[in-house]
């Protein structure tokens, strides 16, 4: 199913871009249309071919077997961690946010306290020492610290 949904999603993005491009002047729209119209056509072809393959292979099996469902659950779980990281970085900044995220992640996955502590210290040291001190990257301090402290 994903092999059809993904090109469909791409097709919708490309279609929106084509509609936008039609509103630009000749110089601004020439290249985008030159590229995106064939891409849209190829996407339609890809969806058609995928549908045809599925119809041919149809053996009466129900959609989304247990393996596919487990894969989807694992993917959604990994995405939840990604969202948690983004939120912790946004609110707590790079130092505190990274440390907290790593601590929660590793402990949730039952990593030993010693390895958890080493991982957190090394990661914070790289961010603060290498990025912050050595290469003078301004480290975002997070919404919480910048607003309230």
């Amino acid at each position: 199913m994903f092999n059809i949904l993904f090109p469909l999603a791409l097709l919708s993005v490309v279609s929106v871009m084509i509609i936008f491009a039609l509103g630009y002047d000749d110089t601004a729209r020439f290249f985008p249309l030159l590229v995106m119209l064939p891409v849209a056509a190829l996407l339609v072809l890809e969806i058609f071919l995928e549908l045809r393959t599925r119809v041919k292979q149809k053996t009466g099996k129900p959609e989304g077997g247990p393996a596919e469902k487990t894969g989807l659950a694992a993917y959604l779980k990994s995405q939840a961690w990604v969202v948690l990281l983004l939120l912790s970085l946004y609110f707590l900044g790079f130092i505190a946010g990274s440390a907290l995220f790593l601590l929660i992640y590793l402990r949730t996955h039952e990593v030993k306290w010693l390895y958890t502590a080493i991982s957190v210290v090394v990661t914070v040291a790289v961010i603060y020492g290498a990025f912050g001190l050595l290469f003078e990257v301004y480290l975002y301090e997070g919404l919480l610290f910048s607003k309230f402290f």
Binding site: F2, N3, F6, P7, A9, L10, V14, M17, F20, A21, Y24, D25, T27, A28, F31, P32, V35, M36, P38, V39, L42, L43, L45, E46, L49, A74, Y75, K77, S78, Q79, W81, V82, L85, L86, L89, Y90, F94, S98, F101, L102, Y105, L106, H109, V111, Y115, S119, T123, V126, I127, A130, F131, L134, F135, E136, V137, Y138, Y140
Partner: protein, 495 residues
Amino acid sequence: MYTDILNGILSIFDPMVLLLMFGGMVVGLVLGILPGLSGLTGLAILIPLVFGMEKTQAFALLMGMYAASSQGGSVTAILLNIPGTGPNAATLLDGFPMTQQGHAGRALGISLAASAFGGLFGGVVLALSMPLLRPIVMAFGSPESFIIVLLGLAYIGVLATASPLKGLISGGFGVALSFIGYQEVSGHMRFTADSIYLFDGIRLVPMTLGLFGIPAAIDLIMSGSSISQAKIVHATASDMLEGFKDLFRHWRTFLLCSSIGTVIGIIPGVGGDVAAWVAYGSAKQASKHPEKFGTGCPEGVLAPESSTNAKEGGAMIPTLAFGIPGSAGMAVLLGAFLIVGLTPGPLLLRDHVDFVFSLVAILILGNVLGSVILALAATQLVKVVNVPGTIMGPIILILVAMGAYSTAGNILDVLSAFLIGVLGYAMRRAHFSSPALFLGYILGAMAESYFYLSLEAYGWMFLMRPIVLTLIVIGFFSLNYKWLGKLFKKTGRAA
């Protein structure tokens, strides 16, 4: 003349010069290993330090750092699937699968040998081409750049031989993404949805890290197993030596890709990304086993690495001869020339031959020593691939976030990298080609700009310029020579 050349080369063996070069190289290697930071960042940091320094010392520090930075980026590309810089993205296509198969040491050996010898190749070409600099550089204008970029785009088809249709869609979608933002020619804002963040388009670093680094981290998180997939990987001296031997086994690929890198380096504004991908595509086309590319093929590591490092020698040519920087790094170095009281151009080549040859020697030594330092550190660095995915996955995510943020100091870049990461992961699941998308994204807008510049300067006659025609013919044959070979054989047999 010859005394000047000899003096220039010998001047870099001054202990202070060597010490500064070593310091610069260590900074460069660390910069390369840290995602998002590049040699350009290093130049910006180190330039204030060169005020008051003697010119050879100043350039030993700067160029030592610059030469070593791309080598550091290859290490993370090979071991962690995180490209340190744009050109390193081509290295991970085969470097990372080699690591997963337990050949990390060999992949690092190939990468380091190709970097060292690629740098040597670029430096030697730079030295030999001094008397010919002017006609070489003047021969390349926007029409030639357009054709080179177009040739790079044509390699999308070469990158995605497993599923050409999906490859073309991926590449085309990448090109479409490159159009987001301000169009230089018309001044139009395109596809920005009035978001100020998108006025500059999607930035390169979040794109690179998101497309390649995040899917790798998600895989680790989902599987929980190490990058080496439960095999314990070591990088012994014999593994590295094997990689070193690969360079000589595939010497034709090395020469081809180093030459491509040098020529592309000469052309101002085209850049290292193009060099790495064109070299990768050409190596795949020329290989007897193109089907092995992308699965952990030594030539796939050799090609981008040799071209990326050879490119810097080429990029020095227009910088020294005309004060026209061949790359962003060279533009910053141009500032350093002025700081030490030198003005790049024909007079520099006439009045400071010794210094120019010092630069060539620094460039060569920087590449060679950078590889030696990394080779010594490789046995320890490679241990990272044995760390369980449960620990490595979240650390990679954090480093990717930090890397995406560090270039522009914009927190939205982190979000951008993660959204691109979701796209990259979805592409992988649906068997679309991330490298083809990346190539399209790098080259799309560049092709458009060069096209309009050429059209404005020469009209449609730009297609009739001798070098343009030559490049078109070379491109046609290099892309189709296998098919043409078969055709000629058939015709020969029929006759």
